[in-house]
């Protein structure tokens, strides 16, 4: 059994998973099996394993400041489905940084995650979700996160696919932002031939002086569909929202769409947006080529920089 697990870890490290997952507080879920856990005082980690899914809940007790990033790894090595339900509760005045590594290798994989989160008063939740997809994976990703950020709380989410192959990706975030709370959503994804990327951010600025930014950076490098829908509702007094979408197109076969939706029903609220779709910067490409890089190598450097 131990050998099997080592085999899984080796595969994950090859895909790009950082080694610190072995020492930091963490949980590794391969398919519907929890293969490794490192606990941390002040964090309650619970799991329920079913045949067709895993339910995980993570609670940070009030006032606990977690001093190192907590790592989650959701992986699927080879053909199959993965469904993970996640519940994250960050107690009052608590502070946590979560890094979620999603690693998929080979075969036909269908990965779905449903996250419910609550960031209590004065608490902070900072989530980075990084995907590693091997070239030979035929993958469908569906990630849905829904939650509330209570008074003066802070929630930050960065979603990115680090590898060139994105697959069929559908991500949706829905957040209620209460009084004086602050939310920052960002997605960075590059797609190649056959990839389909849909990003939908829905933000309700319900509280007074609530603030949010929804940012997305999508790149279509081949026959790719990429669509961003950013919806922000300015309801609270003096609430402030901004939607920032920029998309890069590098193929005549790509289909790109950027749709900002701004709804305000409060005269003290303000929500702004900017959306741009354009090609890669010619001067950047030419500069790198003048240093001896081929066009494809230059594109790779620029795209990796943008995904950083």
């Amino acid at each position: 059994m131990k050998d099997v697990k080592n085999g899984i870890l080796d595969n994950l490290f090859q895909l790009g998973l950082p080694k610190e997952i072995l020492t930091n507080p963490s949980m590794i879920i391969e398919g519907h099996d929890v293969v490794r856990e490192v606990p941390y005082p002040g964090i309650v980690l619970e799991k329920k394993i079913y045949e067709d899914r895993v339910d995980v809940s993570l609670t940070v007790l009030p006032d606990v400041k977690v001093d190192k990033p907590v790592h989650f790894c959701l992986s699927k090595l080879g053909t199959g489905d993965q469904l993970v339900n996640i519940e994250v509760n960050v107690g009052e005045n608590a502070d946590i940084k979560l890094v979620s590594h999603c690693a998929f290798k080979g075969g036909k994989i269908d990965h779905r995650s449903r996250t419910k989160f609550k960031v209590a008063k004065n608490a902070s939740l900072d989530v980075t979700e990084i995907h590693y997809h091997s070239e030979d994976t035929d993958i469908v990703i569906e990630a849905y996160a829904e939650g509330v950020v209570e008074e003066s709380g802070f929630y930050k989410s960065l979603f990115k696919i680090n590898t060139a192959k994105a697959g069929k990706v559908n991500i949706k975030y829905k957040v209620d932002v209460l009084d004086y709370a602050n939310v920052d959503l960002e997605a960075k994804i590059a797609g190649k031939d056959g990839d389909e990327i849909y990003v939908n951010d829905v933000i309700y600025l319900k509280g007074k002086h609530s603030r949010a930014i929804a940012k997305s950076r999508l790149m279509a490098l081949g026959n790719t569909v990429a669509e961003f829908y950013g919806e922000t509702y300015g309801f609270g007094d003096y609430s402030r929202g901004h939607i920032d979408c920029s998309e890069v197109i590098r193929s005549n076969e790509a289909k790109l769409k950027a749709v900002p939706i701004v709804v305000v029903n409060n005269e003290t609220a303000k929500v702004t947006h900017e959306a741009a779709i354009g090609s890669l910067d010619k001067k950047q490409l030419e500069t790198l080529m003048s240093r001896g890089l081929s066009e494809d190598e230059a594109v790779e450097v620029i795209v990796q920089g943008m995904l950083r």
Partner: protein, 250 residues
């Protein structure tokens, strides 16, 4: 007998019916610093573009560009780069998510003696501060141009075109910049230097005056500087008109 590494034979360029280069002929010798002077709009940056193949200018309308004996008309930018040619931009590009360290490493990836700290020190930037900085809008114009020069030192090309690399640089003394030129020369680079700076001009071995799309004279820097001063007097006129105008006055 000096050996030219770069030769331009009657290079002409028309863009949308307008002739911008009107028969440029020039020899740049191996290991020399060859300065190009000329008033605004003379065609200096266009010349740099057509040499490097950038801005969609991969070949002149007519004429030949010969680098180390090979005709390079029509070659792609990276094919030219792989023949040892590069360009330091008048206004260098900004890159999101790319650090100075990344940029110098990419530039110097085929240089076996690459020492990026040394490259930065040579252009007056402290590696401790600058290696981790991003080559994006957070660098000032002068800093970005120094990084551009450092990347040339990292690349160590055979031939570099410097397009007004001194403009916008606040080198406390221009001697710093002359030292960079010396480093480049010591590294065996041949340099085509587009500049307006008189001190830098004095570092050149030879110079050419580009006026209204033509090289009107190639000589020692001092002679070219004098000729440039005359040329500036009646800048609005076409150079040939100006010559005949002078004849008439005489």
């Amino acid at each position: 007998m000096e050996m030219p590494v770069l030769t331009l034979n009657d290079v002409r360029l028309k863009i949308e019916g307008k002739e911008i280069l009107k028969g440029v002929s020039l020899n740049v010798n191996k290991g020399e610093i060859h300065a190009i002077l000329g008033p605004n709009g003379a065609g200096k940056s266009t010349l740099a573009s057509i040499l490097m193949g950038i801005n969609g200018l991969s070949a002149p309308t007519s004429g030949e560009i010969v680098l180390n004996g090979d005709l390079i008309n029509g070659l792609s930018i990276y094919e030219r780069a792989r023949k040892g040619l590069t360009l330091a931009w008048q206004e260098p590009a900004r890159f999101e998510g790319l650090t100075v360290e990344d940029f110098l490493k990419i530039s110097g990836r085929n240089n076996p003696e690459l020492n990026i700290e040394k490259c930065l020190l040579a252009v007056g930037l402290s590696p401790d501060v600058y290696l981790s900085r991003f080559v994006d809008d957070s660098l000032s114009g002068g800093e970005r141009k120094r990084v551009e020069l450092a990347s040339i030192l990292a690349l160590k090309p055979n031939f570099v075109i410097l397009d007004e690399i001194d403009s916008g640089i606040d080198f406390t003394s221009i001697e710093d910049f002359q030292a960079v030129l010396d480093d480049m020369k010591k590294d065996g680079m041949t340099i085509l230097m587009i500049t307006h700076n008189e001190k830098l001009l004095s570092s050149a071995d030879r110079a050419s005056l580009l006026c209204n799309g033509k090289i009107v004279k190639t000589s020692d820097p001092e002679t070219i500087k004098k000729r440039f001063e005359e040329c500036k007097v009646c800048e609005v006129l076409d150079f040939e008109q100006r010559e005949s105008h002078k004849e008439e006055v005489r």
